[in-house]
């Protein structure tokens, strides 16, 4: 399922996010990630969530969510290792964080105004504050090697003088 929810920032839509996902997957993984033909099953509680924030006139969070097996295989692909090769947590965090960083950077380039990209953050387990804060702007469900990968963008509340 791919959908737009709250109003996305100008210039950021499903077509653009799909284009970014395609470019990033082809460049870093060497294979395409395609839109899911069918609604994917819900993400498991131990899903890996890699995100990066965009700070500026528009504030938001770009997140990649996938099951642990998908995260391991993404890591193998990025590292040029055979599928099924055991990957330690440090490498999974590094790879997923970098994927979020590159996707976030590309999304940021589409957002109007002068913005800054935060450092990537990777977590596992049930969606907590870092994964669900702010209204969902859009999400795109992709399939890579028949495994689910979800791209989502959430809007974050604007900073106030009391929240640096």
């Amino acid at each position: 399922m791919t959908a737009v929810h709250a109003a996305p920032p100008s210039g950021v839509g499903i077509t653009e996010v799909l284009g970014i996902a395609t470019d990033v997957w082809l460049a870093l993984i060497g294979e395409a990630a395609l839109p899911s033909a069918l609604p994917p099953p819900p993400m498991p509680d131990d899903a890996v969530r890699a995100s990066v924030t965009i700070e500026g006139p528009w504030r938001g969070r770009v997140q990649i969510t996938c099951p642990p097996l998908t995260a391991s295989e993404l890591s193998n692909a990025v590292l040029g290792q055979e599928p099924g090769t055991p990957v330690d947590d440090e490498d999974v965090i590094d790879v997923l964080g970098e994927l979020a960083n590159v996707v976030g950077g590309a999304v940021k380039s589409l957002v109007p105004g002068s913005n800054a990209l935060g450092l990537p953050s990777v977590s596992t387990g049930p969606a907590g504050a870092a994964g669900t804060d702010g209204p969902l702007v859009l999400h795109v469900d992709l399939s890579w090697r028949e495994m689910p990968v979800c791209f989502s963008i959430r809007a974050l509340p604007p900073h106030t003088p009391d929240t640096p």
Partner: protein, 120 residues
Amino acid sequence: MKILVTDDSRVMRQIVIRTLRQAGYDGHDVIEAENGREALEKVASDAPDLVLSDWNMPEMTGIECLRALRASGSAVPFGFVTSEGSDEMRAVAAKDGALFLIAKPFTPEAFDEVLKPVLG
């Protein structure tokens, strides 16, 4: 020649080094740094011929490293390999003395285009 690859992501450093090989620059010594501060130290200690640096890093960002290098009198060729490639960042990078900015995701061809004038 010696190339200093600076990125807080070990995986991205590996990808940059792999892309250098794919672009035909596999005969050079490659050294690595995890952030701008470490890069600054390695420029002083290892005298690289080129610095390839991420922009957004903990400890010291790439642009802070570049400014510190130029303030110290270093003219080492410096280019960014970063996930952000806005016109604004390109202008800042150029103003502070960077030779180029390659936006991630990148291709071997993108590397070759900007590295050929530097590495030959």
